[in-house]
């Protein structure tokens, strides 16, 4: 035990010495930040996401105002994010669909772009450590994404305050804030994926396409594939036994939860809709005596805690993989 604590302490000392007091990380971080914020493709993407989000939000606000007085007035502020108005999907769907693009756009040419411009060897010739390059790039991307998402979230929240005039309660603010944090983690996942691809593929176009392919696969096809596999293993006919139907539904959900998109969608729906009490198949006997009501924030968090753990772990693991590849990579001046 003591030995284990010693090692953690030793590692922390090392970390502080190596990372925070070396000037390389800071330099790379600042340079990347400036590059990202001034790049045209980033401006275009942010504009696209912002317009889509604000548009969906505005339409939702209109339909909520029309329906004012009907139904229960609980969590009106949160419903701004989950209500779909007319033909436009709700705000969270737009963010869930377009958010990954932001992450992919920031990272797909992080390393191979430097390769192609033949600047990586020049960069590494400077007195900076090699891991400062990848850490700095990832951190800069993360900070830019956090800034964009928080700005968009608070812009929309302020707009909601203007449009419906109902101040959010403390719990609503808490839920909104956690929603934005989860979104940052989710987008960071895609950032680390694109960072990995930019290491694996020499061509920026290839890594961009690979990133988009993975994104489309998880966003669109993972759910269908999960359904196909589940139906193949447990075919459900019309007069199937309830146990088989349950198996089918459970397997389908478990498979689709391998996709970070599913994890993120379930997490955000639970966060922004306090009425969600469970995710997944429910037996009738579990519903016996249950009355509709909203969950407190901590219970909602507990419900999606596995999702959050999965997202954080996946992000870190993929980044660790990218880090590993980058450190092992042979970089020659060419």
């Amino acid at each position: 035990m003591g030995r284990w604590q010693d090692r953690v302490k030793e590692w922390l000392v090392w970390w502080r010495q190596q990372e925070w007091f070396s000037g390389g990380l800071k330099t790379v971080f600042q340079k990347e930040l400036a590059d990202n914020l001034s790049s045209t493709r980033f401006t275009i993407l942010v504009f696209l996401v912002a317009v889509a989000g604000v548009g969906a939000f505005y339409v939702a606000a209109q339909s909520i105002r029309q329906a004012a007085g009907e139904g229960d007035p609980q969590f009106v502020f949160l419903r701004l994010f989950t209500t779909s108005g007319g033909s436009l999907p709700p705000f969270i769907t737009f963010i869930s669909f377009l958010g990954p693009l932001l992450g992919l756009a920031l990272g797909f040419d992080a390393i191979n772009g430097e390769h192609n411009k033949r600047t990586l060897s020049r960069l590494l010739a400077q007195p900076i450590y090699r891991d400062d390059v990848i850490n700095g790039k990832f951190l800069a991307g993360l900070v830019v994404l956090a800034v964009v998402i928080l700005a968009l979230g608070f812009l929309v929240a302020g707009l909601g305050l203007l449009l419906i005039g109902v101040p959010p309660t403390g719990e609503e603010i808490g839920r909104l804030f956690i929603y934005l944090l989860v979104t940052i983690i989710y987008v960071a996942f895609w950032l680390s994926v694109s960072l990995l691809f930019s290491l694996l593929f020499r061509q920026t176009a290839t890594s961009a396409l690979a990133g988009i392919a993975v994104w489309l696969f998880f966003a669109l096809f993972a759910g269908m594939l999960a359904g196909l596999i589940a139906d193949g293993l447990f075919p459900v006919s019309e007069d199937a036994a309830p146990a088989r139907i349950l198996h089918n539904a459970t397997l389908k959900q478990d498979l689709s939860r391998l996709s970070p998109t599913t994890l993120y969608d379930e997490a955000t729906v639970t966060l922004l809709n306090p009425g969600v009490r469970t995710l997944g198949p429910v037996l009738v006997q579990q519903l016996e005596g249950a009355i509709p009501g909203s969950l407190p924030l901590d219970q909602s968090l507990l419900l999606i805690w596995p999702h959050l753990v999965g997202l954080i772990a996946a992000t870190m693991l993929i980044f660790a993989l990218a880090y590993y590849f980058f450190m092992r990579q042979e970089i020659r001046a060419g």
């Binding site: 891991d131 579990q286 016996e288 005596g289 219970q299 419900l303 954080i312 870190m316 880090y323």
Partner: protein
């Protein structure tokens, strides 16, 4: 010896006849005196004296306290027509008397000689009058003639039961929340119209109201013609929370000294009522899935009878367990309350959120129940597992940094 007495009687008769023969004026005077004495105003009806004669058909009347007795007087005049003063010569103390004629109170009457003048003499019998005979003397005095008339009012012992109050169903039974309706008949057996005031001697808190049969008016008194009877509805409302038992409610109709009454009986059967609540009245509770959480309950006996052997039960979803401590209450007196603790244990598989759990207290006679809103929370154990997982991942990444960093 008989012979001697016969001889004495013959002697007296002989002497009387001799007296009549020798002193006829003396005998006449004696006879006149005797007659004058017997026709004096102190005894019997007035005699035509100087042409005036005051008379009535029934000089003696039987009455009861509180009544008004009327003597119709007739005044005949055989002499010259004259104005006559009417006067009460003697009357018992505190008896109100008055002469009435033509609807007015009169003090004088005019006595013509063609037809008699009629005057009513009214006597109000005081409420306090005791049984006995009471004599009055009234006098009609004109300038040339005077006539006196003696009248008598006799008060007999009060005959109870002369008025009657009867009911067919003197005992009614019901619960403490029942409004009891008795039907009572009141009969006036007297000779005159009477006004009765109605009253009831109920225990404190009881409400007794009277109303005529088939009428909703509440009345406090009523008037009855002689020989008539009237149905009365007597409504009796017991106070709230009255104990079970039999209660007597005497009711009475009083008119002067005449009283009629009947004792009504109300038999309150115990009503049973049980209430289940919490000391604060809040009916919600928090529980963690798979763990017992205590809820303090209060069992109240809100009925009017004691309850024995109160047991508890709960209806909750499958997989839930609800136990009570104590498991049963042997005896809970009326109005008393007792605390009971319920341990609610949601199913370990329960989904977080709100559930309805219905708890009930059951006695043989009645039961009380309360619906609880139980907010189920799930255990934070898996959350901790997640935190550990994240820490492991961070450790792994850190290890990667250490192993491959700084090249």
């Amino acid at each position: 010896m008989p012979w001697s007495s016969i001889k004495v009687a013959l002697f007296i008769l002989d002497g009387g006849i001799a007296l009549l023969r020798q002193r006829p004026w003396l005998v006449l005077m004696t006879l006149l005196f005797t007659l004058a004495l017997s026709f004096s105003p102190f005894v019997g009806p007035a005699r035509a004296n100087n042409g005036l004669l005051l008379s009535t058909a029934f000089p003696g009347i039987e009455a009861q306290p509180g009544e008004t007795v009327t003597f119709p007087l007739e005044l005949r005049n055989s002499g010259v027509p004259q104005k006559v003063d009417l006067k009460v010569v003697s009357a018992p103390k505190e008896w109100q008397t008055v002469f009435k004629g033509g609807g007015m109170i009169v003090t004088q009457a005019f006595a013509g000689n063609d037809k008699p003048a009629s005057v009513d003499f009214q006597v109000e019998v005081p409420e306090t009058a005791r049984p006995g005979s009471y004599n009055f003397v009234v006098q009609a005095a004109g300038p040339g003639a005077t006539s006196r008339l003696g009248l008598q009012v006799v008060i007999k012992e009060v005959a109870t039961g002369s008025d009657k109050m009867t009911t067919d169903y003197p005992v009614l039974s019901g619960t403490s929340s029942t409004s009891f309706q008795f039907r009572v008949d009141l009969t006036n057996n007297g000779a005159q119209e009477r006004s009765y005031s109605l009253a009831a001697q109920a225990p404190p808190g009881w409400q007794v109201t009277f109303s005529p049969a088939y009428d909703s008016k509440q009345i406090a008194s009523l008037s009855l013609k002689p020989g008539k009877s009237q149905g009365l509805d007597v409504t009796v409302k017991p106070p709230q929370g009255v104990k079970a038992g039999t209660y007597n409610i005497p009711i009475q109709a009083t008119s002067g000294s005449s009283k009629a009454g009947v004792v009504l009986k109300v038999n309150i059967t115990g009503n049973y009522s049980l209430e289940l609540t919490t000391p604060s009245g809040r009916l919600n509770a928090d529980a963690i899935a798979g763990r017992e959480s205590p809820v303090t309950l209060v069992v109240k006996n809100t009925g009017s009878a004691d309850l024995a052997n109160i047991t508890f039960a709960a209806s909750a979803a499958t997989g839930w367990a609800v136990t009570f401590k104590p498991e049963k209450i042997d005896l809970l007196p009326a109005g008393a309350s007792q605390q009971v603790t319920a341990f609610i244990k949601p199913s370990p598989k329960a989904i977080a959120g709100d559930y309805v759990v219905s708890l009930s207290a059951n006695a043989q006679e009645t039961s009380g129940s309360a619906d609880f809103r139980v907010s189920v929370r799930t255990s934070t154990l898996w959350g901790l597992v997640g935190v550990i997982l994240v820490l492991i991942v961070i450790g792994a990444v850190g290890w990667t940094f250490r192993k491959y960093g700084r090249r």
